[in-house]
């Protein structure tokens, strides 16, 4: 079982010796243009099957969310006709030419801004999916990431409700596809990492909205980015899952968002479920003892 520490190093805590620096993603939603190149590059590299041809009517998002066959998902949020500058609504500065002349993507006529951000597995420091996996199919890699071993998973599905972000899922088709019946999610391109390559999504991202690198360095970069956005007047820019003291011990893949997390389909205050597990086992022990006591009581002072 893991313990909480102020600077967790998941790879070394798991027993990796000579582990490289922890790797991760910093996804900067303020520069995402919604091209979905990350989604396509991910599927191409990882050989993931097509998983749905429905028009969802969620702006230009016809992907819907992460799942067994979607490891990157670009959210599209149209925020319509609120007064520009009203609470929580900053039109995005497109050019910071001279400090005095910001132009805005949110048109003054329509008062619309179009938020986009690419979601991915968070590779939590305290990963519920990994904790609850009964077979050991989910493992912590030397890069500090969380990966499913396709040949070990038996499809019990426990990781699915355990994930506080709804990331991992069991692949249910199409028939004949690889790994049907087992849990699937982003591997942070484990195979590419071992060859010192950048994950496919970050490689494909044309605006560096998806940045890959050493987690420590990404966090510094992200804080700098937030500071410069705040200085530029984008006051609602905020980091999500960059804090090692949050409910999952900080994420390997964290985000810069321009609105509340739930607007993007992310939980506002995720907590790894296994943080409460010692208390749950104590409750179970009390329950078991109650059952024994009850059963014994059922037999005392009875005639046979």
């Amino acid at each position: 079982m893991w313990g909480w520490s102020s600077a967790p190093d998941p790879a070394r805590d798991t027993g990796w010796i000579n582990a490289p620096a922890r790797k991760g993603f910093f996804t900067d939603g303020s520069v995402c243009i919604g091209c979905k190149a990350c989604e396509v590059a991910c599927k191409e590299w990882n050989g993931i099957p097509e998983d749905g041809l429905q028009l969802l009517g969620m702006s230009y998002d016809n992907t819907g969310g992460l799942g067994a066959s979607t490891w990157r998902h670009v959210a599209f949020i149209e925020q319509p006709r609120r007064a520009v500058g009203s609470d929580g609504f900053t039109p995005l500065p497109m050019v910071t030419a001279a400090p005095d002349q910001n132009t805005h993507a949110g048109s003054a006529e329509t008062g619309i801004r179009w938020l986009m951000s690419s979601d991915v597995c968070k590779h939590c420091t305290h990963a519920a999916c990994l904790d609850v996996c009964p077979t050991g199919a989910l493992l912590r890699t030397e890069f500090g990431t969380v990966v499913v071993q396709d040949d070990v998973c038996n499809g019990c599905g426990y990781c699915i409700p355990a994930c506080p972000f709804g990331v991992i899922d069991r692949r249910d088709g199409p028939p004949g596809a690889r790994n049907v019946g087992i849990a699937q999610k982003c591997t942070l391109c484990y195979d590419r990492l071992r060859d010192d390559m950048t994950p496919a999504c970050a490689q494909a991202c044309p605006t560096q909205s998806i940045q890959f690198g050493d987690l420590d360095e990404l966090r510094i970069r992200a804080h700098d980015r937030v500071d410069s956005l705040h200085a530029a007047g984008v006051t609602d820019a905020r980091l999500y899952l960059a804090d090692p003291n949050d409910g999952i011990g900080g994420a390997g893949a964290f985000f810069l968002l321009l609105d509340e997390p739930e607007v993007y389909g992310l939980p506002p205050d995720p907590v790894v479920t296994t943080r409460d597990l010692p208390a749950m086992w104590r409750t179970a022990a009390i329950a078991g003892a109650t059952l024994v006591a009850g059963a014994a009581a059922a037999f005392v002072w009875t005639r046979s």
């Binding site: 519920a128 499809g155 019990c156 709804g166 739930e262 009850g294």
Partner: protein
């Protein structure tokens, strides 16, 4: 707690994913609990020399455990790989712990149950029959020793998830599950054993049903907003049926259980089915709480504000 008047989500889509489990899992929650409490009842009957109650309870433990195991394996995405559960033992995984509990329990309960079945056969099984007779008591007692774990870990199995309705019920669910297990096993004993020998079964059934009802009430308080999922849709129908059957069965048992064999059987059946309904109700409520982002977002927002 006053729920937020409004909350935002991404087009109303779920944040956490509902478990992919079908009815196999709530069925197992019930059957595993039935098997566990039955083995305790069987052990008590064995030690207090109630052969009829012992027989029914041991067979109940065997049948419940076997059917539950089949349900568990059937639910896997790759049933052929069910043995991968044996690769490791992880205290952070209630499913891993539960697998080892069940793996310990099943051979013991099977041996005790098989001895009872062998005794019912019109002929004597040579050698094996003798071994069964010798092994039945220690096996049955050892099964009973493992049984509290089997009956209670399933509560942790559900609460150790991000499913809002289950996780929020963590202080009550294991107690509800053992109580419900007792009600089911007691109900089975009442239905299968003459009233004279079924006193412990009646006590177990009524005590279990009463404790379950009390804890369910407390659970609704703990669940907060997600308690709403117990009062709509499929979960509501199951939950209402469970409470009606449990209350009716318990009252009927107290009034008629020791007098009339038929009435005892009906009451036992009601408690048995009521226990099953409760497992399905809690399962369905949790699934519903995962499918609606409200139950994920609102409590987390409240937590951030406090």
């Amino acid at each position: 707690m006053v729920p937020l008047a409004t909350f935002t989500s991404y087009y109303g889509r779920p944040i956490v994913k509902a478990s992919p489990w079908k009815s196999d899992i709530p069925a197992y929650l019930f059957l595993g609990g039935l098997a566990a409490a039955s083995s305790l009842l069987a052990a008590g009957a064995d030690l207090s020399n109630r052969p009829e109650l012992r027989r029914v309870a041991r067979i109940g433990a065997l049948a419940g455990g076997a059917a539950g195991t089949v349900a568990l394996v059937h639910d896997l995405g790759k049933p052929t790989r069910f043995l991968n559960m044996m690769r490791t033992a992880k205290p952070t995984s209630p499913m891993s712990i539960g697998t080892w509990i069940l793996t310990t329990f099943m051979p013991l309960a099977s041996l005790a149950g098989a001895a009872e079945i062998a005794a019912l056969l019109p002929f004597r099984v040579p050698i094996a029959g003798r071994l069964l007779d010798l092994g039945a008591r220690p096996a049955g007692l050892l099964a009973a020793a493992v049984a509290p774990g089997l009956a209670s870990y399933t509560g942790v199995l559900l609460t150790d998830t991000a499913t809002p309705g289950w996780h929020a019920a963590q202080r009550e669910l294991p107690l509800i599950f053992v109580a419900s297990a007792a009600a089911a096993a007691g109900g089975l004993g009442m239905a299968g054993v003459p009233v004279g020998e079924a006193t412990p079964a009646r006590r177990m059934a009524v005590g279990g049903a009463a404790l379950a009802l009390v804890m369910e009430q407390r659970m609704e308080g703990s669940m907060g907003l997600s308690a709403k999922t117990l009062h709509s849709g499929k979960a509501q129908r199951l939950f209402n049926a469970s409470r009606a059957l449990s209350i009716g069965g318990a009252v009927g048992t107290i009034v008629l259980g020791s007098r009339n064999r038929a009435a005892a059987a009906v009451c036992g059946a009601a408690l048995f089915v009521g226990s099953a309904c409760m497992r399905f109700a809690i399962f369905e409520a949790g699934q519903a709480s995962a499918r609606d982002p409200r139950y994920t977002v609102v409590p987390q927002r409240e937590r951030l504000r406090s």
